[in-house]
């Protein structure tokens, strides 16, 4: 039987081994990493679904573990993303300045993830969270930007610190660090306080408004194989904390009568909807495919928050389903972009085009991923959004519903842009020699493609597992599901039937495509503009200024939040300079004055 403790030690041990193997040869080290991750994933999957993991500890006596359906749901998704991404390592590592440490930090962070979701002790939760943060923080700067890593670390640390303060508030009131007992043991003002602190942690880690600045920076600049981990796996830590706060702490505050929802939850739902709107608007503007997907992650984080705020069974199930669907979709999309970036060296949309001819499988993977992301059947994202929409309407949260629908429509506007820009259109001459990704990279691509469809067609097993989580953590009614259908307040969704119709449609289209005359390939330069010969094909790329009129509407406002944080950092620096001027003066007299001030102050106070 698999034991958590052994899994953790195994990962730490393999991390060290992978360092030396990678040093020897980065390919061998990466292959070793794949097997190590696979071993952990398979162990978890084999025993975890039925809660058969061994949680006893013998070698690490200061840790204690317990297994929950909720924790397992997160851990299996994240371990899966880690496994999938590890297949990319052999082809990427050589480009990184400190490639030897890449696999080491990657495996260590996975150990942190497993610990975080299996521990039943608050301080250990914090231990694992911090471990994840610092190990991943050193992975990000291997990509394009160091500032991205600082930003990621700063926001994550802010989140962790809020979490830790919350933990100590709980400890002060309950007297122990046990997670279940702690969350159950607080009430009144304390619970509001802890709720706020936990939500800050959740927002920071989930990368939602207003703590989202790090998200595009980190996702956009991280090493290509690490972006899927960030977006598909690590931000979900925030969702976990969000569930603890919204569902488990659930502070009793003023209730908004019209929608029968506590003010706290409504505020979070509102923040979630802001996140959806801002994420969507910013994604529409973005030219870099990875940053675009990062903003889409921000908007999806908003959906997750809305779902867990609505406090009913469908919403809760929808939120969890969305976590799974988005993890698969964003991992799929980021991995496709990583494959393109590996072949071409860029992720800027206006520099790319026509990749479908060279990388058809990658194209298909991206297509399926974004269909799920946009919430279109027959992919997983549709079912989750369908559940969330039901819950929002059911509650009568009109304002939120507007944002949720806006985000859904908006995602059509942006997710198809990379598809068109990267994969469709005409190809540039410099990419004539590009080839499809190697077989090892196609393995995870196929698996994720399959799962994206599976989650959209056969919801039964997933809903069943989510029902276990509902039963374990809430008093909500379970969601009814058969093999192909899900039933909610306003009817039954037959995902299987929809998929069938969709499949038939695709088949017909394919037949037409086969039968029709082949289209003639035209090169970009094969044209004249106003009788001038075009000398630079890049200017003709259609994705340049694609949504220019729309972007102009909010061009100025789009930098507000970034400016705010820049200003904040600047102000902190100025305070530092002032403090230096006041306390670190070269003039001895200044120090003397401080000493005198303190003495006089004390004597004055005591004399009074």
């Amino acid at each position: 039987m698999a034991n958590i403790e052994y899994l953790l030690l195994f990962l730490v041990g393999s991390a060290v081994i992978s360092y030396f193997l990678t040093r020897l040869n980065s390919f061998i080290g990466s292959i070793f990493t794949i097997f190590a991750t696979m071993f952990v994933f398979v162990s978890l999957a084999a025993y975890g679904f039925n809660m058969n993991l061994d949680t006893t500890v013998s070698l690490l006596p200061w840790f204690s573990f317990s297994q929950t359906y909720l924790g397992f749901f997160f851990v299996i998704i994240i371990a899966f993303i880690y496994l999938m991404v590890s297949f990319f390592h052999p082809y990427f590592l050589d480009k990184y300045p400190y490639k030897n440490s890449y696999n080491l930090l990657f495996l260590l962070s996975l150990a942190g993830i497993i610990g975080a979701f299996y521990t039943d002790h608050f301080l250990q939760l914090f231990f694992f969270f911090e471990m994840i943060i610092w190990t991943t923080m050193f992975l990000i700067p291997q990509g394009k930007s160091r500032e991205a890593a600082v930003s990621y670390f700063g926001f994550s640390l802010t989140g962790s610190v809020a979490l830790l303060i919350g933990i100590f508030v709980i400890y002060q009131n309950v007297g122990r660090f046990d997670i279940q007992a702690g969350l159950a043991g607080i009430s009144g003002t304390t619970s509001v306080f802890v709720f706020v602190l936990f939500m800050i942690a959740a927002l920071a880690k989930l990368g939602t408004f207003p703590l989202h600045i790090w998200l595009p920076l980190a996702h956009g600049n991280a090493p290509h194989p690490f972006s899927p981990v960030l977006s598909g796996a690590l931000v979900k830590l925030g969702a976990f904390i969000g569930i603890l706060a919204l569902i488990k702490i659930n502070p009793i505050g003023p209730v908004i009568g019209a929608i029968d929802l506590a003010l706290g939850q409504y505020i979070i739902a509102f923040i979630g909807s802001l996140s959806i709107v801002f994420g969507t608007l910013m994604a529409i503007k973005e030219d870099d495919a990875k940053k675009l997907l990062a903003y889409s992650s921000m908007s999806h984080g908003g959906y997750i928050l809305v779902a867990f705020s609505a406090l009913n069974g469908f919403a809760f199930a929808g939120g969890l389903y969305h976590i799974l669907a988005h993890a698969l979709a964003s991992a799929g999309a980021f991995m496709a972009i990583a494959a393109v970036a590996r072949a071409t060296g860029t992720t800027k949309m206006k520099e790319l085009g026509g990749m479908i001819h060279k990388m058809p499988i990658t194209y298909l993977a991206y297509l399926i991923a974004i269909i799920s992301m946009a919430g279109i059947p027959p992919m997983g994202g549709f079912i989750s959004k369908w559940l969330i929409f039901q819950a929002v309407i059911d509650r009568g949260m009109i304002l939120i519903a507007v944002a949720v629908f806006f985000g859904s429509v908006g995602s059509f506007l942006y997710v198809f842009r990379p598809l068109a820009a990267l994969f469709l259109g005409q190809e540039f001459r410099e990419y004539k020699h590009v080839k499809e990704a190697p077989l090892l990279m196609l393995i995870p691509t196929f698996i994720i493609m399959g799962l994206n469809i599976y989650t959209g067609v056969i919801p039964k097993q997933i809903i069943d597992f989510i029902n276990n989580i509902i039963g374990e953590n809430t008093a909500f009614a379970p969601v009814v599901a058969t093999t192909f259908t899900v039933t909610a307040t306003y009817g039954t969704l037959n995902a299987g039937l929809i998929a069938l119709i969709f499949g038939v449609g695709v088949a017909i289209a394919f037949i037409i495509f086969i039968l029709m005359k082949k289209s003639r390939k035209v090169e970009l330069m094969d044209t004249y503009t106003a009788a001038n010969f075009v000398h630079d094909e890049h200017l003709l790329h259609y994705s340049v200024d694609f949504y220019a009129p729309l972007e102009r509407m909010y061009e100025k406002q789009s930098h507000w939040m970034k400016k705010f944080y820049d200003a904040l950092a600047h102000k902190v620096k100025e305070v530092g300079k002032l403090a230096k001027y006041l306390f670190m003066s070269n003039n001895i007299g200044v120090t003397l004055i401080w000493i005198l001030v303190i003495i006089v102050l004390l004597i004055g106070v005591v004399a009074l």
């Binding site: 231990f127 300079k577 001895i588």
Partner: protein, 458 residues
């Protein structure tokens, strides 16, 4: 062996070393090694000097607390001197004085005797900082240090005039009988400020910027690690046993310390020079240590002193060596320092992560333990301030680390001697080991400090 030798031998050796200047540094090695052995052999308890039974005469107090302090101070002096034996060979005599002075500070149970040792170690410190070749900063240090020790002496005189004794144990007894804390506010404030100057607590520490900001591989770790830890230990002794802050004085001290932590981290955040970043982080740590002592969290303060001394030794030496070779300590000009010095880079990273208090390293264990004890004491606001400061700290350290790891433009060349790497690697390994395996840390508790026991049981 008697603990008196811990002070007498270095003092004697200091005089002898003047005759054999060339061999003074080797004499120092022998003396520190002897001292370390002596610490293990010394019997615990009160040691009476000259046959005067207390409260008359001078007595020394040996307990686990002072043994830890002695071990740390002597071992660090040995290591730092050994690593600098080529670059700074002429400081043997001064270092012998340092050892005598700091050992005396830690051991003595007599307050006036304490003042004498404060002056001895102070003079030695001024001489050490003279190696910075920035006389004006040393001069400022000297003046401020003199002000500090005079304030301490003034407070001491007031106490003596009130209670008529200089024996610490005896004084504590008298104070307990007197039980009017208001009268003690003035002397205690003066003494706290006096010690605060040496322990570099904000706002009495303006000398630090000049001294550590221009430090070298020798003076940097000596001041930031050896002196900081010795002063931390004695400040702790005074706070826990003599001062026992109460009422308004407690509030003011807490505010000064918490503000010291937050402001120092913010000042480090605003700094662009690597040495300044390190020195402000040291100032924050000093305030943190004092804060723990004020809250009665002795053992974790002790561990924090040790962890901090080890990490800061490594960090200051690495940065100061680089500064010496490159000629600038601007973070910008040290970019990519570790690209060619992988081992040094990993060690520096480990030390930094430990200071930041990140998991797998001992700094994290210490941080969580003292935060838990603070929570037990109901100090949730203190915790909040400490943690908010830790965000600022985290950001500036990560910025520093990433700049040092990732080169921009030309690679800079700094060569670290093998002995540096070996010693640093051992320290890094220790930080890592105790970060993962904390059982040994749980063996000791707040009873390491036995002054109150002596007071109660005679």
């Amino acid at each position: 062996m008697s603990a008196v030798l811990l002070i007498a031998i270095p003092l004697l050796a200091a005089f002898i070393s003047i005759l054999f200047k060339k061999y003074s540094i080797y004499l120092l090695f022998a003396v520190t090694i002897f001292n370390i052995a002596n610490v293990f052999l010394a019997t615990e308890g009160i040691i009476i000097i000259g046959g005067f039974s207390p409260p008359l005469g001078i007595s020394l107090l040996v307990d686990t607390y002072s043994k830890i302090a002695l071990l740390l101070v002597n071992a660090l002096v040995l290591v730092i001197a050994a690593l600098n034996v080529k670059a700074y060979p002429k400081y043997g005599t001064i270092l012998l004085l340092v050892v005598a002075g700091l050992n005396g500070l830690v051991l003595t149970n007599d307050l006036f005797n304490f003042f004498v040792f404060l002056e001895i170690s102070g003079i030695a410190a001024y001489l050490i900082t003279a190696s910075n070749k920035k006389p004006i900063t040393t001069f400022r240090y000297l003046v401020i240090g003199a002000i500090g020790s005079s304030l301490f002496l003034l407070g001491l005189i007031i106490l003596y005039s009130m209670f008529g004794t200089l024996n610490m144990v005896d004084m504590i007894k008298e104070i307990a009988l007197n039980n009017n804390y208001q009268e003690l506010v003035l002397p205690f404030t003066l003494m706290f400020i006096g010690l605060g100057v040496e322990a570099k607590l904000l706002p009495f520490n303006s000398w630090v910027k000049g001294i550590l900001g221009h430090s070298n591989t020798f003076s940097g770790p000596m001041i930031a690690s050896v002196y900081a830890s010795a002063m931390g230990f004695v400040l702790g002794r005074f706070i826990t046993n003599l001062f026992n802050f109460e009422g308004m004085l407690l509030t003011v001290v807490l505010v000064i310390l918490v503000a010291g932590i937050v402001l120092s981290d913010i000042m480090a955040f605003a700094s662009k020079k690597s040495r300044e970043i390190l020195l402000f982080s040291s100032v924050a740590q000093a305030s943190m240590i004092a804060l723990l002592f004020v809250n009665g969290i002795i053992i974790w303060a002790v561990y924090l002193i040790i962890a901090n001394a080890l990490s800061k030794t490594v960090m200051f030496m690495i940065i100061n060596k680089a500064q010496k070779d490159v000629g600038s300590d601007e973070v910008k000009s040290l970019q990519g320092l570790f690209a060619n010095n992988l081992v040094i880079g990993i060690i520096f990273t480990i030390a930094t992560l430990s200071v930041m208090g990140l998991p797998l390293l001992v700094g994290f264990t210490i941080k969580l333990n003292f935060l838990t004890e603070l929570a037990d004491a109901g100090q949730i606001w203190t915790i909040a301030f400490i943690l908010i400061a830790s965000v600022v700290e985290g950001i500036y350290f990560v910025k520093l680390l990433l700049k040092l790891w990732y080169p921009e433009g030309n690679l800079i060349k700094v060569n670290y001697h093998l002995s540096f790497k070996l010693v640093f690697a051992i320290i890094a390994l220790a930080l890592l080991t105790f970060g993962v395996y904390q059982a040994p840390l749980d063996k000791l508790d707040n009873t390491v400090d036995t002054v109150m026991e002596v007071v109660n049981n005679g």
